[in-house]
Symmetry: C2
Subunit: 379 residues, 2 copies
Amino acid sequence: MKKEVLLTPGPSQVPHRVAAAGAAPIMHHRTAEFGEIFARAVAGMKKVYGTEGDVFIIASSGSGAMEMAVVNALSPGDRVVVGNTGKFGERFAQLCRVYGVEVVELVREWGKIVTPEEMDEVLTKEKDIKAVFITYSETSTGIMHPLAELGEVIDRHGALFIVDAVSGLGGLEMKMDEWKVDMVAAGSQKALMLPPGLSFLGVRGEKAWKAVEESKIPKYYYDLKKYRKSMQKSGDTPFTIPVTLVISLDESLKMMFEEGLESIYERHKKMAAATRAGVKALGLKLFSEHLSYVETVLEVPEGMDGKKLSSLITNKYGCRVAGGQDAYKGKIVRIAHMGYVTHHDVLLAISALEMSLKELGHDFELGTGVRAAEEVFLS
Amino acid sequence: MKKEVLLTPGPSQVPHRVAAAGAAPIMHHRTAEFGEIFARAVAGMKKVYGTEGDVFIIASSGSGAMEMAVVNALSPGDRVVVGNTGKFGERFAQLCRVYGVEVVELVREWGKIVTPEEMDEVLTKEKDIKAVFITYSETSTGIMHPLAELGEVIDRHGALFIVDAVSGLGGLEMKMDEWKVDMVAAGSQKALMLPPGLSFLGVRGEKAWKAVEESKIPKYYYDLKKYRKSMQKSGDTPFTIPVTLVISLDESLKMMFEEGLESIYERHKKMAAATRAGVKALGLKLFSEHLSYVETVLEVPEGMDGKKLSSLITNKYGCRVAGGQDAYKGKIVRIAHMGYVTHHDVLLAISALEMSLKELGHDFELGTGVRAAEEVFLS
């Protein structure tokens, strides 16, 4: 018999309530009954986004919502700044270039961020920057950007602020309006506790809609104006929405509001603190000083086979974690604690890490990591 | 207490087995376990498509797969022929125009089709036609195009043949290779017995891939080459796929192969014949002589309130049907029998139609429609 705890940075665990809700008999998407569910889901997402603006629900992966932001906010020839701090920052740069947008790319070593001071410098130097693209929490490296501070700088320079919050939204605080973020892309399979299949695009207000009106990139499926028109006219979507996933979303939002958004963010901070205390107590190093609260990334000890380490944790000890990507294959281990995660998951992950490290000859006393995590939970 | 039978042309009924499969604990999309399921689903879809070529699974609605065909097969300035025989044919024309493609639009009165003879004429007259777009079964009007005959004509003229089979695939025979169809778009929520959220694009071979190589329309999320590369490299998708819907797809394909594709097509023909016998026995007219086997569209009797008729059938008698769209609002009723449908559904639909017609003063003997349907089932 085997039990597996899913601790990858997406897909993440789906509560039974949420999965069961999605298995209810299918309903038609243009009925009053579904309309109510859909409206409630949209209203709930606005709270999660921290916006009085719009949140659109899309049938696509998170990358679809990122594309939707690019093709609706920009025109060929526009100049933008992209923070390339990992695989998903890089994706924004690729997306922009595909559509003829000129990219000032701020490439950072993995584990680093783009600071508000650096952003201020760049925007002071570069002319006619239409938009700035930033990854809120970058799953490939675990880092998190300070959106509030960045938003202040970007707004001062007059550019649009467009954020990929695919892996953070629901687990990390998001105050789109207060932080002056104009568009935010998100996905269902991360901290929102849902299976993959839905994505989201938040649009804050005037400044974003003006850009949408001016945009000259051709689009159809991702045409924001079609989505806005459908919402205004009939409260639905221009293309058939994944009905069962929206029903699941309604249930996961219900769970989130039962717990309270502030409590959820605190829980994620606690999970992060406990995981990191465990990791450090075992003599391992964290990959970055900028780690977000939804994912802990640790460095594989010098000389140890990192792929073997990930494989033992995942396959032998039943906690599915992710290894490094690209140049960091075998060099880091990524333990996500996003969404439906409690101290149970963290304790099992740290224990799996301990047993795997022991097998690979790492020198430490068994139980040290778990004890450190428990101390955080007791504090 | 209320029971509802869902007989709209998408979403359609989802078998309990299929819904339950999708509610299993979530799994990571890049594991051997899911890889096996995904590979089996793709192999199954190739059988349903009748192709030795490729079938790609996409996270989007069916319109997304239609867009994927357009943006990968064409370049701005290309000339194409589009059969506009209803709302979805019209969508292909809109999609092409958005991307700078010149459209020779064959607009037909709703209920009519584009015949192979007409296609031959158009392709003889028009020069440099790169592709022809046809809707296999058009849900807005119920019609079905003769793909085999059209394929022969289009191939002879050298154009690409691109088909929207969103509402037909799984219920209507599809022999992509034999019929020389180069690309076929499909969706999950129709005859494939799944919730909405997945779409499919079949790509037959050389001719289509050559067009893909030449295409100059910018794209990212819908870039077919990314999908092909992912399949070849690791047997998966470039963007996170809706894991639970693919698990459901695997289950629905299992059901389909248990029944046998030929038996499924025969069943759909039987459902269509019984529904139509019932409708005609009640003195009503069919909307078109070209109706497909997945949907029966009937004309509302002269002088009767069609919206009232649809509403009674749906809300009072518990069989959810669709009314007409655009200019046909209140003039037709659409009863879908696609996917997870047996004689139970047809009998309840005809009975609901009878009771609703009686309430609205239509002159006939109660039971006449059901008897006619039963006669077909007994034959």
